[in-house]
Symmetry: C2
Amino acid sequence: MAQRVTNQRRAIEHVFETCARPLSTQEILEQAAAAVPGIGIATVYRAVRELQDERRIAAVPIAGEAPRYERARHAHHHHFYCQKCTKVFSIDECPGDLSRLLPPGFRLMDHEITLRGECAECAAAT
Amino acid sequence: MAQRVTNQRRAIEHVFETCARPLSTQEILEQAAAAVPGIGIATVYRAVRELQDERRIAAVPIAGEAPRYERARHAHHHHFYCQKCTKVFSIDECPGDLSRLLPPGFRLMDHEITLRGECAECAAAT
DNA sequence: ATAGATGCAAAGAGTTTGCATAGGT
DNA sequence: ACCTATGCAAACTCTTTGCATCTAT
C-alpha cells in the first residue's frame, strides 16, 4: 500500500517547508519535536532518506561536518558554514566553470564550494 | 621526555613523504603495514593527530567522505575527488576571490572547493 | 483488519581512549 | 631504569536496522 500520512512525517515535511537554511538531523528532530513530542531520531533518519529518494530534499555535504538537508532546488548553488554557530546557509551564486583548474585527462562532473567564516549574526556580535 | 622515533612513526612519516596524493587513515595503515606488519589503526590515528598538531600534515576534508591527509603545503590549493576510485588528488590552482558570492554582513575567512568526476586513470578506462 | 510507520534498543562503522606492556632513550 | 608509544579492546558518536506495537487507511 502507499505511503501513509503520519503526524511525524507531516511535522518533518513542515520543518523543511518553513526553514530558511539547511538543517542537521538534530535540528530537524528538535524542530519536529515541537509539533510531535517524543518523535524518535530513527524516524527523522528514515524520513530524510525517503525524502531524498523522492528528490524533495537534498543532502548538503559539509566537509568535516554531519550533512545538512534542505528542500531540493533546481538551481545549482553553494553553501556557507559559520565557524562560530556551525549553522549552514545557502549561497545562490556560483563562480562558474572550474574545468580550467583540472589536470590533463581528468573529467569534471560536478563541483562543490564551501565558504567558511562568520554569518551576519555572529559577525555583528563580534 | 621528548618524542620517540619508533618504527611505526617512521613508517607513517615515510608514507607521507612518498605519497603523491592525500590518503585516508585506511590507506595510511595499509601502506605503513608494508614496513611494519601488525601496526594498529590506533597508532595511525595518534600519529596523524600529532603530525597535524605539528603542522607537518594537513587534513583534507572531503564532504561526505572520511578526511584524507597530505603533507602540509604553503600554497592554498584545492582537491579533486574521483567518484570511481574514491581517490583524492590535489589541484594546485584556485579560482581566486569568492567574497562577491557572500550575502551582506557575512565575513569570509576561508573557502574550500572539491571538484568531482573521474581521475585520468579512471577516465582512460572508460 | 491490514500493513506501513514508529519508538526503542541493539547493531554497525569510524574514531578515540584506557591500560598493560614493548621498546626507545 | 625510565617512561613514551604501541596494540588490543572497550568506549563513544553517528547512523542504520530488527522488532513489537501503533495507527492511517
